[in-house]
Amino acid sequence: MSSTTAEQTTAGAAASPADTDHPIHAAHTPSGTIRLGVFFQGVNSSTAWRAPGAGDQVAWESFERLITTAERGVFSAFFLGEGLRLREHQGVPLEFDVAGRPDAQTLLAALASITRQIGLVATQNTTYNDPVDLARRLQSLDLLSDGRAAWNIVTTDNAWTGENFRRGGYIDHAERYEHAEAFVDVARRIWRGEDVDHQGRHYHVRASGRLPRSRQGEPVLFQAGVSPQGRDFAARTADVIFSPFGDLERAIDFRHDIVERTLAAGRSAESVQIFPGAEFILAATDAEAEDKLRWVREQQVGPQQAIALLEQYWGRDLTAYDPDGPLPDVDPLVAESGVTRGAGFQFEKAQELTRAWREEAAQKGLSILEFARSRQGSRGSSFTGSYDSVAEQLAEYARWGAIDGLNITPWLIPGGLDDIVDELVPRLQERGVYPTEYSGTTLRENLGLPALA
C-alpha cells in the first residue's frame, strides 16, 4: 500500500516511511503518534438515526455517554459543530436528516463538569459572532475546563444565515478570511488582557481583556477551510487543521503543502497539526466489516434520503423518480446549486457534477439508491475493516507522519464510540502509536502542542 501511494505522491515524499526520518518533508519529523477526537456534528446525513440503538440527539445523557466513552479511550478532543440556521432545500427545512442541537459552548461548559482531561472544541463562526463577546465566552470555557477549550474557526459569507442576526449579510466571499483574521486577532488580544480599539471595515469595537489566563494560556485554535486562502490562514494562525483529506495519498500531499505554507509563515513544521474527519466501520474480520458497511449505508440512506440528496444538486422535484431506477435523465434547473442552504456544497457546479454522476452510475450499474449510498462517507474518510487491519492502517499513517490524528464522526449516537474505544484503541496502543494515558491536563499538553510564551 505504501509504495504505490508514494509513487503517486508528488512534492518530494519518500518511497517508504522506513527510508528516512522525514518521509514527507525535510522539515517535518513524524511524532509517531495518532490521536483521536470525536466530532458530534448533530446535523447531517451520516448519523444513522433509524438504526437500532440510535438515541436522542439533544438529550444530556447522549452527550454524557459519548464524552465519557471518549475520555475512557484517551481521546484528545470532543468536538461540536455549529450551524446558525436550519438547513433548507427550496425554502423548506431538510426533513430526512438529523437536525437540532444545543448551543456548542453552552453544552461544552456543562461537559467540562463531568470530564477531567479531554479537550472541548466549539465550532464558532466569525461572521455572525462579535469578536469580543466570543473571545470572552471561549475564555470562560477555557477557565471553567481548566485549560481544555478550543475554537474551531469557521467563516461564512452567507446572507441567508445572516437573516438570523443583526448585521444580516454584510460580507463578501473574497473578504471572509481577511475578516476572520482580524476577528481572531481581536480575540487573541482580549485573551492576553490588552485594551483593544479595533476599527475594522465592518465595525468598530472597543473593549479590554479582563479575565485571567487559563492553565493552557488561551484556547487552542482549530481551522477547517482548505481553499488556498484557508490553508494560508491556518498556516499563519491555527494550531490544528480539521481537514477532509483522510486517505493516505491525499493526507501526505496535504501535509506537504501545509508544512510548506507553515514554514513560509515563519512557524515550525510541527506547529500546525492535521486531524482529518473520519468514519470508522469496524468488526472482528474484514469480511464482517464490509457487510457492516453495507448495513450502515442502508441505515444512513433510505429511498427518501437518496431522492433528497439528488434534489439538492438537481434543484428540482425528483420525487417522481424511482429510487431503484437509474439517475434522472434531466438536467439540473440551476447553474449553481444554491437551492440547498446551509449544507456547505452550494458552490459546486451542478451541471458538470450531475452529468458526471449520471455517467458514473450508468457505468457501475447503480440505481439512485445505490449511488446515494456509495456517495455517503465520501466527503470524509471511511476506515472500514477488522480491528487489526484498521489498527495496522493507522500505524502506517503514523510512520509517515501524514496526520496527527483523526476526528471521528460516529454514525451511531450515542453508542458509536464503544467498539473504537474497546477494540481499536487497545490495538493501537499495542502498536505504540496511540497514547496510553493523557500526558497532561490541558488540551495543549494532550495534543503535544508547544506551550505558549
Binding site: W49, R50, Q57, V58, W60, E64, G83, L84, R85, L86, Q90, G91, V92, P93, L94, E95, F96, V98, A99, G100, R101, P102, D103, Q105, T106, L107, A109, A110, L111, S113, I114, Y128, N129, D130, V132, D133, R136, R137, S140, L141, L143, L144, E163, N164, F165, R166, G168, Y203, H204, V205, R206, A207, S208, R210, L211, P212, G302, P303, Q304, Q305
Partner: protein
Amino acid sequence: MTTPPVLTVDLPSTPARLGAVRDLARALDAAGLGALSISGDAERGDLHPIHVASHLAPLTRALSLVVRTDAVDVEPFHLATQLMSLDHISGGRAGWLVETRTDDEAAHVVGREALDPEAARRETSDVVTVARLVWDSWSDDAVVRDAETGVYVDAAKLQYVDFEGETFSVRGPSITPRSPQGLLPVLVADADRAAVGDTVAEQLADGRAVDVVLDPDATAQEIAGAVREALGAAGIVGAELDPQAADTAAASAAPSTPRLVRLVGLLGQQDPADDVAQSQRADAGEDAFRPAELASRVADAAAQLRADGLVAPAPSAGNTLREQFGLPRPDVTIDPARRSDRARTAQKETAR
C-alpha cells in the same frame, strides 16, 4: 393560593472563586435551596454567566439555575438558543433574569453606541418577544423519527420567527429543538426594574425577583428577618395571606408577581479592587467565604421561612423551574403563516 416565591442565592461569576462556587452550588443543592441566580459582568472580568450556569447544571440535581444577563448588547438569536440549551442541559431548571445594559462599555464591545434608556427598554421588550418566538419555533413533537417515511423532523411542525423590529430582525426557526420547559420563565429583578422598563416588567415577564441585599456575615436569623421584611413590603405575609386576595393578585398582575426572593451580597463585595484581593486570598487558601458554612446559614433561614409559608418548599430532582413556580407548561401554537413548510405549500397552491 399562589405559590410562594422561590428562595434564591445570587452567585457572581468571578473566576477567582470558581472552585468555591462549585462547592457552594453543590452544598446549596443538597440543602434544598430553590434556585441560584448567576450574574456576570464581562466588563469587570466575570465569566460568562450562561456558561457558569450550564457548568453547574451537572453538579446539581434539584435547584434551578437562573441567569441574569443582558438583553441589549447581544445577538438575540444567540441569546435565545443559549438559554434554551441551558434548559435542555439542566432538564428544565433554567430561567432568565432580564438585564438591560445602557452603558457605553457594554455597547462598544459589540460595535454599537449606547442606546438612550427609552430605546434600550424598547429593544429589551423586542428581545424578550423574539426569545419566546425562537423557543416556540419547534413543536414539542417536531422530531418524528418516522423510519417508514424517512422523516426525522416534520417541517410542518416548525415555524419561522419572522420578527422585524426597530433595531434587528430574526428569521428562525431555532437551531435547537423546543426545551423541557417550552418557555423559560422570564423574570425581572428589582435591581434591573427601572432599566428594563414597564413593558417587560408589567406586561411580558413571568414574574418579579424581590432583591434582598445582605451583608456577607448575615446570620440565618438576619437573612430570614430581611426576607420577611422585603416580602411584607411586597404584600406577601405567608400563611396569614388571604387566599382570595392572592388569587386575584396572581390573575391580574402575573408579570409583577414575586416568584423569586434573591439574596444578594452573601458572597461579598464585587468591585474590581476587591476581586484582586479576593483572588489573592483564594490563592492563599484563605478566601473569606466558606461554602459549607454559608450553605448551612442559608438552609437555616430557608427552614424558618418555609415554616411560615413564606417561600416555596425545597424542590425535588426532576422539578422544573416552572413547576417550582406553579406555572403550567405552555403548548406551542403553529401559526399557518409562519409554518416552515410554507414554501412547499405555496408551490402546491400555484400548481393547482
